[in-house]
Every structure is written in C-alpha cells, then in structure tokens.
Symmetry: D2
Subunit: 372 residues, 4 copies
Amino acid sequence: MTKAIQSSVQVGELATGQALTVPLYSFIGSESSAPSVYIQANVHGAEVQGNAVIYQLMTLLEGYQVLGNITFAPLANPLGINQKSGEFTLGRFDPITGVNWNREYFDHQVDVQAWYREHQHLTDNALFQAYRSMLVEACQKRLAQPFGISTGHRLAVNLQTMAHQADIVLDLHTGPKSCKHLYCPEYDIDAARYFSIPYTLVIPNSFGGAMDEATFCPWWQLTQYAASQGRDFSVPVSAFTLELASQERIDLDDALVDAKGILAYLSYRGVIAENVSPAKMARFACYLRDYKKCHAPKAGLIEYCAVVGEPLAAGQPLVNILRIDLYGTDQAFQAISLPMDCVPILHFASASVHQGTELYKVMTKVFALPSV
Amino acid sequence: MTKAIQSSVQVGELATGQALTVPLYSFIGSESSAPSVYIQANVHGAEVQGNAVIYQLMTLLEGYQVLGNITFAPLANPLGINQKSGEFTLGRFDPITGVNWNREYFDHQVDVQAWYREHQHLTDNALFQAYRSMLVEACQKRLAQPFGISTGHRLAVNLQTMAHQADIVLDLHTGPKSCKHLYCPEYDIDAARYFSIPYTLVIPNSFGGAMDEATFCPWWQLTQYAASQGRDFSVPVSAFTLELASQERIDLDDALVDAKGILAYLSYRGVIAENVSPAKMARFACYLRDYKKCHAPKAGLIEYCAVVGEPLAAGQPLVNILRIDLYGTDQAFQAISLPMDCVPILHFASASVHQGTELYKVMTKVFALPSV
Amino acid sequence: MTKAIQSSVQVGELATGQALTVPLYSFIGSESSAPSVYIQANVHGAEVQGNAVIYQLMTLLEGYQVLGNITFAPLANPLGINQKSGEFTLGRFDPITGVNWNREYFDHQVDVQAWYREHQHLTDNALFQAYRSMLVEACQKRLAQPFGISTGHRLAVNLQTMAHQADIVLDLHTGPKSCKHLYCPEYDIDAARYFSIPYTLVIPNSFGGAMDEATFCPWWQLTQYAASQGRDFSVPVSAFTLELASQERIDLDDALVDAKGILAYLSYRGVIAENVSPAKMARFACYLRDYKKCHAPKAGLIEYCAVVGEPLAAGQPLVNILRIDLYGTDQAFQAISLPMDCVPILHFASASVHQGTELYKVMTKVFALPSV
Amino acid sequence: MTKAIQSSVQVGELATGQALTVPLYSFIGSESSAPSVYIQANVHGAEVQGNAVIYQLMTLLEGYQVLGNITFAPLANPLGINQKSGEFTLGRFDPITGVNWNREYFDHQVDVQAWYREHQHLTDNALFQAYRSMLVEACQKRLAQPFGISTGHRLAVNLQTMAHQADIVLDLHTGPKSCKHLYCPEYDIDAARYFSIPYTLVIPNSFGGAMDEATFCPWWQLTQYAASQGRDFSVPVSAFTLELASQERIDLDDALVDAKGILAYLSYRGVIAENVSPAKMARFACYLRDYKKCHAPKAGLIEYCAVVGEPLAAGQPLVNILRIDLYGTDQAFQAISLPMDCVPILHFASASVHQGTELYKVMTKVFALPSV
C-alpha cells in the first residue's frame, strides 16, 4: 500500500500577504512508458464534489499497482473556494473582474507549420517531448510577462503548466443543479465509454478557454498538421471535463462511483496494472451545437419541473413560472415547454429569476454511445 | 367565487428612481366582528415558497365564505428578492449595511403603565382600538423621522403598519435547507396544533427584532399590565413565523399542504365560515433556549449526514468533514456528532465552510404537543 | 426654449415582475438632412457622471436651435445601477454571470460582400438607409431568439437598436480613478479635437464587444468593401466612448465642461445651428497597442503615487507597496516603477490588492494631436 | 535601535484549510511598571490606513526608549481584508451573516458586585491583576464554547484576549469618506488632547459591541462599583477608536502625522521615556447623542457638497440630488440641507443611493476642547 506524496504549488498571493497555495498529491508510477495523469478539482469554488472523488480515488489507488505518474490537485482555486456571499460560494468568477475562472487558460496559438518544419526530423517520441517542452516554457514565459498578468490568468497558467506535463488530464467540475455529464473532444469520443457518466457532450477540437481545450488543442493541431505532411500518429494527449452532478454537495458514496469510473479509464489506458471494467450502463451523447441554453422568457418564481438526466418529450413542462403580481390573470401561473424532445442536463440554482436568466441547459438530438 | 382585490404599497425607492412596491391582495370579510388577518411572504429574498402558499391560499379562499378581512403581501421585500450574487439570491440582509431584513422592525417600547392609566376607563374593544391606533401612529411617525430612516427600517415599518391593523399576523419564511417549523410565542402555544407543521419553537414573549415579535409584544405587555391591575383579557393579537421548508424552492403541491394548514387555523379563529380540520399529524416542540446552533469546529468540506426533521440519537454523525489538505492524517475525514439526542431542523446551504460557520440548528429536549 | 420629450424603453424584467426601464429624452431636429444623435450613460452601474453631463447638455440644448434629432438614454442600465455591495455599486458585470455589461453588444458579422452585391445599385443615401434597416432588423430578430437571450444581451441589444438609428453615437463612461479620455476609432481621429478631453485612445476599426465598436464596425466594413469595388464615401456613422473621469462621482460643474465639449462636436457636425468652438487645450493620443495594463507583481497595500493625467518619467514610482507582514525586511515597503515614460490614465479603486490586480493603465508612446 | 519582534496569532480557518492568522509585532518595555499597549488596525477590511500608521509608529519607536510593552496587530481581519467585490473591499461585515465585524466583541456582563465582594481585600494592583485575569479567562472560555462560536466572534474574542492584557488599547479604523475623528469615553476625555485628531465623539461608558467599549466597560464598572463602596481609583484601562480619514487609502505622509499623535499620547502616559508634545491644533467634540445620521430622503444621484471636517451653517447644502428621470420637473435637481449648524464628519462612498441610505454623519452642538 502506497500513499500519495504531498507537496504544494503557489498560485498567487492575497492582499494580506498570504500565499495562495494548492495542495498536490503524487503517485509515482513504476513504468516510465506508462501515460502520466493530472487530475484537478474545484476550479469553480462551489463545485466541491471533485475533491471527494479525488479522496476516494487516492484511497483506492493505495491498493493498486500504479504504472504511470499521477498528480492530483484538489482545491485548485483557493481564492474561489473561500469566497462566500451569503450562504453560498461565489466562486464561479473573479469577484473583482467577473471573469470566469474557467476561461483564463492560455491559448498557445502555436505556429504549428513553422514549429513542425523545424522539428520534423525528430522521432515521434522526441517530437512529442520537444512539443511538450515548448508548451511548458510558453506557460512559464507567460507567468513572467513584463507588465504582469491577472490573478485568474496566473492561477490558470500555473495549473496549465502542470497539466501540460501529463498525457491524460481530467478537470473535475459540477453543474449548478445537474446530472453527471462529460465534455469530450470529438477525436477522443471512444473514451466516453469508460467513465460512469451517462451523458456526453461532444465538443469541437478547438480552443474555448477551458482547461481541457487548453490541453488538447495544441496537440490536435500538431497531429492534424503532421497528417497533412504525410505523418500519422494519434493525438498524444487526452483531456476531459467531468461534470459530477450538482455544486455545493459532498457525497462520499457517490464519489466512490465516479472514482471507479475514472479508474476504469486509467486501467484502459494502462496507467494502472490491474484490469478495471467500466460500469455497465447506457451512455448517450449530443454535439455541442445541439446543446441548448433556455433563457427565462419572462421574470418570475420558478418551479423546476423537468428532472435532470431524464428524457423530456416535446411539449412537456420544463418549468412553471409563478407571477403572483399578476394573480387574477392568465399570466399568474404558466408552464414553459420546448417544441422538441430533449434531455435536461442542468438547471439554475435559484427559484426566482430575472428575464433572460439561463433556466435549463438541454441536450437535443441525443444519440446512444456504443458500450466498450 | 370572489377574487382578491389588488392594490400595492410603496416601501422605498431605488437609486434609479424606481419605486419599490409590494403587491397587496385583499379579501373583504362579511362580518366586522370576525378577526382580520395579515399574511406576508418573502421578506428574505431567497425564501420564495411563501408566495406559492399565498397563491394557493388565495385560490382556495375564492371558494370559501370569508368573514374577516384578509390582506396578503407576497414578494414583501422587492430589493432583497431582486438582489442576486452568482446563482443565488443574496436577500438575507441589506447588501449595503449587512443588517438582517428581519431585524429591522420597530420596537415600540410603549410606556404601558402611563398609557393604561390614561385609557383604562375604555371598554375592552375601545381600549384595543385605541392601542392599535397608537401603534399605527407610532409607525407613521417613525417613517417621518426628521433625519430620515434606513432603507431596511423603512421597509419593515411600512409592513409593520399593515400588520398592526390585523388581529392575526403570519410571516412566511423558510430556512436554508430546512424542515417545516413554526415560531410560536409561549402564550399562544395552542395555535401550533392547527398548522401543517411538525416542529414548533416556543419563543419568549419579548422583542427580538422580527415581525411576529414586533406585532405581539406590545399586546402581550398590555395584557400583562392590565392583569396586574385586575383586568383580564386574552392577548388580543396573534402573530407567528412559519418556516416552510427550504429557500430557493417553489413547490406548488407542497404549498397547497401549507395553505390548507393555514386555512385550518383561520377556520378555528372564525375568519372563514366553513369548518376546516387541521391535518392529523404528530407535532413536537422545544423551547428557544433548547434550540442549539452548531458551529463548525474546524473548516472543511461538509457532507451533511443528518436529515432535517428526523430525530438523531446522541453520538450519531451530524456531518462528516473532509479535509483533503490533510490526506494521510486522521484529520482527513472526520465525523462530528452531538452528545445528546436532538432533531436537526435546518442546515447551512453550502458544502464548504470556514471555521465557525453555523452548520446545523437542532432542537433538544423536544416534547410532543397534544392534538386538537 | 424647447424641453426634451420624455418617453422610456423596457429593457428587461426583474424577478419580482418589475419592468426594467430606461428613461429616454428626445429633441426633434428641424432639418431632416442633419445628422441624428444617440447618447447614453451609466451602462456600468458606478459610472454615474455621464448622467450629469446629459443633464447639463439637455439644459444647454434648450437654448440652441437643434437641427438633427437627438436622443438621450441616461441611467441606461437600471439593474447595474441599483446593484450595491457594501458601500459601492457593483455594476460592472452581471452579478449572476460575471459578464461585463459592456461586452454584451451584438456582433453583426455582416456578409458585406453578399449584401453589397445585392444593393450596390442604390444611391448612397438609399444604400445607407437599407444598411441601417438591416442592422436594426437583425437586432430585433436577436431579441426574439427562440431559446431566449441572456439578461445582459437583452439590455445591450435594446440599446444598440436605438444606437443604430443614429448617425452619431456617444457612450458616456468613466474609469475607476481616472482622468478623462476618449476611445476613438482610427478612421475618425479628427473628431478627437472637439471634445474637452485631453487623452485619446486610438482603437482599431474592429469589433471588441463595446457599444462604439458595435455601432461603427459594420459601417466601416461597408465603406471598406465599397472602396474595394471602386465606390468611395466616408464612414457614414461615428461612435465614441467618452471616459469622463472617475466613477462614484457626480460633479455638476465638471459635467458642464464636458457638455460644452460635446456641444462643440455636435456644432462641428451640424447637429445644432450655432457655432460652438472646442475648448483650447492640449490633446494627446496613443494607440491601443501602446496602452498598457500594469498588474500587481505582488500582493499588498497600495499607495498610488502617480497622478492620473500627468506624464510620469521612466523610473518614477507608480505605486508604493506596503507589506507590513514583512516588516523588518527590504520587502516591507517597495516602490514599483516602469522602465519607460508614460501617462497614467487610471488606477484601481481599492488600496489593498491581490497579486495580479490591475493597478494602473498607462499610455506609452504618447503623441500630440493637432488642434482644430 | 530595536526592531519589534514578530509573531502571529491564529484567529480562524478558511474552507480550504488555510489558517487565518494575524501578524503581531512586540516592543518589550524596560520598565515593568510602565503601562502596556495594544494597537490593532484594519478590523474592517477597507480601512487600511491604520496599517500605515502602525508601520510609521514602529519605525519611529525603533529610535525611542520604550518603557512599557507595546503589541501591534496590523491586518487584524484577514478574512475581511481579502474579501473583494468588484473594485472595492467588502470588509465591513461577515459576507455570510451580514454581522458587522466590529460588533462581535464579547460583552462580559460581569457581576461586579459579587466579584468585588470576593476580591475587595486585595491591594489595588492585585485587584486589577485578578480582574484582568478573570477577563482573559472569560474570553478563553468563550472560545471553547461546546456548540462552537461564529467566525466573527472567534476573530473578535481572539483580538479581545490580547487587548485585555494591555492598559492602553487603540483600535485604528477609518470612515468611508471621512475626516479624522476619535471615539473617546466620557471618563477619559482628557486623552483627546494628545492625538492629532481634530474631532472627538464623546461616547457613553457602556457596551455597544466595539473593541474600545469591550475593553474599558468592565473596568469602568469596577471603578464605579468600588467608588460606591468607598474605594477610589481612576479607571485602570484606556481604550479609544481612532478614525484616520477615509477607507481604501494608503498615505504614508499622513500616517506619520498620526503616528506622532499616538506617540504624544504614549509619551504622556509614560510608555516611552522621551517627551513628545502633542500637535498644536484646535480640537472639537460633541456627544454621541448629538451625532446625527442623515438618511437619503429620496433616491437619486448624489453630489456631495459639504466638505468633511469643515463647519456647515444651517441651510447650506449638504448634498444635491440629481433625478434625471424627473428632468423637466422641480424634482430633477434638489439641494438637501439641515436646519442647524453642524460639522459633517463623513459621507457615503457611492454617488447613487437608494432612499434611506445614510448620506452623512454630522456633529451638532460642537464644542471646543481645551489644549494640553
């Protein structure tokens, strides 16, 4: 039985001078050829369940033979986690600037053509190693910008520096009131069959600001460009965002379920020696373009009718809107529905909304994923 | 079938010049001798369910014979309701001053002795009418203070002015994550058997800042003083705070349950002509002094184990605290329990807490209330 | 003497059902050929001084002969203005989503080539009229999106709909602690000589999310494309953002200065019949690429040394950082300076900062603008 | 030259597990009979200037002969200081509960009669020592409450424990936009002549929740009771709140002025060997009952006309209220004044206010204090 080794990384500094640090836990793999892994949780302050999953996963791993290096970064955003506002955690964006903590990662915008021309003589492994070094150095240069960088960018690029050193990157999030779902790049869709997650969003292979994209995009671009030059390899790096149900919730039993799902994926990838089968369950997916945000068409008090994770037929009520100020009119109580079948994936956390608040996100044009 | 009559009251003014108004709905009773009623909801911005109860109650009342005047003030704190912070409603206190909206009511501090000496020659009814007028005028005078009054006090005293004109006052709140419970003054404990609420907090007959206390205290003082002078009457005014489960939740079916409970009380008091029986259910109570706040002994991520509304034996876990930064030590995962039996009534809404955050409120020394 | 005509526009709805409305004031011009004007203020909640400028401008205009239609939209963001957090206005971003209110305008992304091909037979005036109609209709279609739009986008597109109907658009903002400065598109740099504003930022002619860009970009694109097809006209629409010193400040005397500056520009453009000369003053500019954000290299308490609007030589202290937790070391009190000459334009509002907080924005490579 | 000795005290723990600590600096006095001193700053997060004063004072003290022990606790409320909301520090109240950080101190409610009966046989010095020990132990017991205590109370009682061990306690605050003023208990009014502070509020000798009151009240009660029993001594402990101009401001030069004022008081009290004269300046005072809060009689945009610290004659404008939504009426721009002479001491920080916002605090019935 091997415990993880603890260290920490400083990601900023508070006004009082206190260092902002993230705890790190590492399992050292026994095979240098096995893929390495980086798993972080809680970049959004209220999305705490990923820490419980890491806790269960570390406890499980103590009993496995670990082949590849695995690094865990729980509580990855101390500023966001500690930022309360009333009885809730206001940890979705920098309270000073409003910028979403999950849109602060560095977009490398590598000139792949030039880089490849210079490095094409290398073997695959040496090529990958050189590319990885270039990405890490670009992050370090970013952290040393002459005019400084923002608080959120500093946090993100510090985390990204660690992620770039791994072959597999998992970013553990949750929705507001949500069922479990996975963000998976289109090129890596087969991976979705290993996690214990029923719904998968298939995302384009391009940068949108999040950790998963920041990690795999440069590699996907390299792979594409090499292919155009007649050299074929699969994308050397995998990165996913796991949305592990609802925010402001710690559930150790459920965390164990997700820890086992992650273990199944790591087993499939050869990170651990043992064989761990994925859970038998139906898995569904939709393309990001078919993932719809439903905004409140009018203000009011909201009764959330649709259950997240359960298919909803066209015309069935998504929400009821109570407008007690309009008592006595037909606007006082009104159901809102969609004209197409969907699966509601998450809904807003508050029961009273302004016009335009995002009430639900729903998958449309959902299709089944094949099992392993 | 009679609909309520709509009007509104202005309770303030926003920086842009917009009036802050509360919608009012009135049923005019057919019997001037029947008690009059004032029911408000949503003084704390996130506590919206009372509006749904009012909606159901108004709809029910359309089919009843209403004897006493009934006034409803839903959405009673427009500033608090509209104040969002992230995905939640930051409506528990004035965002400028921090003062709890429910601690802003006016403490009359009547010189009962002097007032009684001057008015003791009146008949009971005339005495009550004079006392009521004095209370209303004191509120109006308060609103016209030469140096002005605070935003929250203006709201509260406006609401209080309406409450003082009724014989029965119900203030509809919710807890954070909560089971239903009732705040009931000691002298009026019999009333607790009518509402559909399993747990009752028996509160002292003194002022603590809330609407119920602001309403009944001056009357209880008058009754006490008159009794000391050899004149006996029961406290002429009843006031209760109903905590209708959790905040940020609209549930029309459950609202109907509570509307019927209120109707049972109004029936018992003769506000409606029809006989409505209270729900058959076990009801329990504890004294306020036995209602305990459990503060987090240390910081961490919280798994809330105890179910609100269900008795918890001494030594059973209230919460588990996950401290993933202490992984590898016996502090990493720790259960917290109490040394006595209790009934957890409500818990904090967030799953990560600083040291000292109020985790649970629990009733101890709980006793059963007799049925009607 | 003619007063402006008052109306209003609804831009949203609050949770309680209250309409969010913006007051509008219009002067009707006597010459249909004169340019029309749209001026808004206070899209960021704390940036109130523009309202005072509008007040002074409306008062002045009562005494002038108005040729072109002028519409004023003060208090343009009621939700933002009314959102307090402690003693300050938290009006820079949507408190729910964190999105900057000034990055919510609609990017038309007109397919100019296709549109021009279809409309090139029109005379200039008819061409402009058709283009304008297309922009307005695109906004209206946006407001009617099937899945709804966000609160901030609804506000922005409503304002934008009004702006598109004018030839001249002024968006009145302020900085945090700031000297006056103007955002001016490169093609319209001559306009900078009319306002009473010492510093001008010359911005590219492309969309970045703000009102000025949302207004002029489609027109600049049309102009460019027409020129490429051998048809020359100047960009038919002008749009500027005026930063009128510091937020959380109302100063009527200073507002009069800026009202007169705007009047000088309107006079130059023929919106009023009278000749109003611009203030005699030195005016300077720099390109946006030379406008630098200085982030706090470390956390601490900040003494802001550099005076906004006054040139600062290389090596002179921008701020002193007090780190009393490091008393006794050479880190306890430290000056921060830049290696090049600059003009500090604005600084952060708080005197204690986390690492990475934006301390100052400074102009570098400043050049003088010629006078009128 | 002697530097202060650094240590720290833990006052809480953040959700992520980080300790909340306050840095402490101590000068050890050479005379055990000299009074000991405790000085804290920044209990309200935005009120940073006290840290600069402590910095200057520590630097000055390095050159003096220190007779009594002096302990400094700058950055005394790390949670409040680090809590930002937009560009400002939201540090006036606990963001979870709304409770003012400066109203969380422990009210001992000593049963002085019983305590004195038991200890009256002691000499004055032994009596004081026993009383002091009792206060400190009561604080320690408070920190160990079986159901825990709130975050704010934990912070306050930790600070209070240190304060109770000193003879002189200074709590360094600031107003929002404020001139310098001193809170001074009535019994200790002579002390006001030493600080470099022009205005003094003479407060009652009773508990209101703040540090100064928490410190001196038990001692004043003891002194009073002993006097009633025929034993006379002066109140053994002095405690003052210094309001050092405006929040969100660091000014080292001005901090030096206040450091010298404090030094003059410490010199007068024999804490340092050297003689330091108080600044020659006029000093004025008023009783707390004559200190008036002026609330906004209506909402609107505020031009603050009255300069803090400068006398304002009756009828002169305190503020102008701009209501641009009422343009064209006589309500559009309106001056607000008071019917009596006053000295405005501080005003609200934001330029747009809801009805009821506290605009100014003003001293009335101001009288001159004699010089030393």
